[in-house]
């Protein structure tokens, strides 16, 4: 049995590690999207989903670590994470981009985009990607939009065309969201049409896809450029179909993600080690698939 991370056959890549640096802009849910008193009272804090997660001292300590870039990187070292993908909003201060860029490819970025931003968003995307080749994907979260629109809506299509042009992946949130807002736009089935229409676009699903995991599975088997990252789920709760896929037919399509700081790496690796994943599939799950999907070879020599 492989005990992770010590026995990892490759340097582990985690494409979704959250940095909570105090200079980062808050990315709240649009207030207009919320209806119930509890959510409205919690706004704009991310505590809107507080009811879903433990708030113990260890979690608080991880959040403290996630506020400082040096501590964040030290934690990657301590957790045997060779490369981490960090989601950043487009109005993140240059200084944060610059400091992450100076890490020489240790960290890559998934840039959040809002399809309602229209050309302003596209221009910003172009400008940032010109300056920071470490931006390897565009992150989309349909439920956070107001009005919420599914990923096959026209507002997204210029973003997809731009991603094909710039060879960026789209990293899309699928499955029921934590906040109490409508979930239908999070149905992964909407991506089926996107994968069909943009055969050169790499699409990575994240955040589980529950309760539509069977849809995810079918689509992973039919679309060569579609991937599934295990964000937001502790390994012991990985859907059975995903574990099976990661071992066999979909060994090239599942990407490990730990969901730090919400989940501690110790727990994630302990649970992951206990899963029945074929040893020969492990290097793909832990690194190879992410390298291919996010084209991480660009990071070699990625300093601006």
């Amino acid at each position: 049995m492989t005990t992770l991370p010590g026995d990892a056959p490759v340097g582990i890549i985690d494409p979704f590690v959250v940095l909570n640096h105090p200079d980062l802009p808050e990315v709240p849910m649009p207030r207009e999207a919320l209806r119930d008193d509890e959510s409205l009272a919690a706004w704009p804090a991310s505590d809107i989903v507080g009811h879903l997660f433990k708030k113990d001292d260890a979690t608080r300590a991880r959040y403290d670590t996630s506020r400082d870039i040096d501590a964040f990187v030290a934690n990657l070292d301590a957790s045997s994470i060779a490369r981490a993908g960090v989601p950043l909003a487009p109005d993140t201060p240059d200084d944060v981009f610059d400091r992450l860029a100076a890490l020489d490819g240790r960290v890559f970025v998934t840039l959040r985009a809002n399809p309602h931003d229209g050309m302003r968003g596209i221009r910003r995307l172009d400008e940032l990607c010109d300056r920071y080749p470490m931006i390897r994907s565009i992150s989309l979260t349909p439920f956070q939009l107001h009005p919420t629109i599914p990923p096959n809506s026209k507002e997204y299509y210029p973003i997809y065309a731009k991603c094909v042009e710039r060879e960026l992946a789209v990293f899309v949130n699928v499955g029921f969201p934590g906040p109490r807002v409508p979930a239908w736009t999070q149905d992964p089935m909407h991506l089926d049409e996107v994968c069909w229409f943009f055969p050169d676009l790499t699409v990575v699903m994240r955040h589980g896809g529950l309760p539509w995991v069977d849809v995810c599975e079918q689509m992973l088997l039919r679309w060569p450029n579609l991937y599934y990252a295990t964000t937001a789920i502790a390994p012991r709760y990985y859907p059975e179909v995903i574990v099976r896929l990661a071992s066999k037919r979909g060994a090239d399509k599942v990407i490990f993600a730990g969901y730090w700081p919400l989940l501690p790496y110790e727990r994630v690796f302990t649970e992951l080690s206990a899963l029945d994943i074929a040893p020969e599939a492990l290097p793909k799950l832990l690194a190879g698939n992410a390298e291919r999907a996010f084209r991480l070879d660009v990071l070699d020599g990625a300093r601006p």
Partner: protein
């Protein structure tokens, strides 16, 4: 008098042999029995750019350029400048393939010989977005094209369809205006997507994009006029119609609220007659100046 500018002419003006083969397809064969009836005589057909072919359209494409002949035509008809649009038409109902695909490369070769009088108009295929956008980008950045003209209804695609949105974003990025046909289509093609009101989404989602709704929007003239009136970035042209047959409401708006917005185009009809018919309209001389040229120069960013 401001120079006359034709906002709606096509690549075959400089290479008449590009046109012809489209007549072998059902859409065009139907049209020569309906809206294009006058083109056929004794089993022969003369295209809008003067190429005589058998009426069954069985003829090869000939991309040979003759720019001096095109400029001579402009001189004879009193035109200062014209667009050369590289139209792509999909056969929606019958053949399910491109039945017109006038190449940007031919126009790119013509432009340097045009003394600024030829205006390149790239095409767009909404079924092949990435390849098409790459072509548009090359045409604008490297070959000096100033316009993109699309024929979305041949693809059964509405102007506010998601497959059109990447083009609009690219046009804003490149700083070129976009145009497409609205109204019914002379060919038997899906026409519901020609409703001018469908452009409303586009005008609001891309407020800095200049949009030309071509061919008057008939039979939805009211929608056409409403769009031009309400949206600062929406223009329209009267191409494909002789001015004597224009909807009187359109002529009235053209002389008043929309005198800055309506442009002139031949669509390949008799260049002298289309111009003369505008000059014969019962509208102000200052309006004629605007419609015949100034509005197009402003729309294209040349004025």
């Amino acid at each position: 008098m401001t120079p006359v500018v034709d906002i709606m002419n096509y690549a075959p003006l400089v290479a008449p042999g590009l046109s012809g083969p489209e007549f072998q397809y059902d859409e065009f064969q139907i049209m020569v029995t309906t809206t294009f009836k006058g083109m056929v005589r004794d089993g022969r057909l003369t295209t809008m750019w003067g190429r005589e072919i058998p009426a069954d359209g069985k003829v090869d494409t000939d991309p040979t350029l003759d720019v001096p002949a095109a400029l001579a035509q402009l001189d004879a008809a009193g035109y200062e400048a014209t667009t050369l649009c590289c139209m792509k038409m999909w056969s929606h109902d019958r053949h399910h393939k491109l039945i017109v695909d006038w190449p940007e490369e031919v126009v790119a070769e013509a432009l340097p010989q045009g003394n600024g009088r030829l205006i390149g108009g790239a095409g767009y295929d909404p079924f092949h977005v990435s390849e098409s956008l790459a072509k548009v980008e090359t045409a604008v950045r490297e070959w000096g094209f100033e316009y993109v003209y699309v024929h979305p209804m041949t693809f059964g695609v509405a102007p506010n369809d998601r497959r059109m949105y990447p083009l609009y974003a690219k046009c804003v990025e490149l700083g070129v205006p976009v145009g497409f046909q609205v109204g019914h289509s002379a060919e038997v093609l899906p026409t519901e997507v020609g409703r001018p009101m469908l452009v409303d989404d586009v005008a609001r989602d891309f407020p800095t994009l200049k949009i030309n709704m071509s061919h008057t929007g008939w039979p939805w003239t009211g929608e056409f006029l409403s769009m031009l009136w309400r949206h600062p970035n929406v223009y329209g042209d009267i191409s494909a119609y002789f001015a004597s047959s224009l909807d009187p409401e359109l002529v009235q708006f053209m002389d008043r609220q929309l005198r800055h917005k309506i442009m002139f185009g031949s669509n390949g009809l008799d260049l002298t007659r289309v111009r003369e018919e505008v000059e014969d309209l019962p509208i102000k001389d200052t309006t004629k100046e605007r419609v015949l040229g100034l509005n197009a120069l402003e729309f294209l960013g040349r004025a």
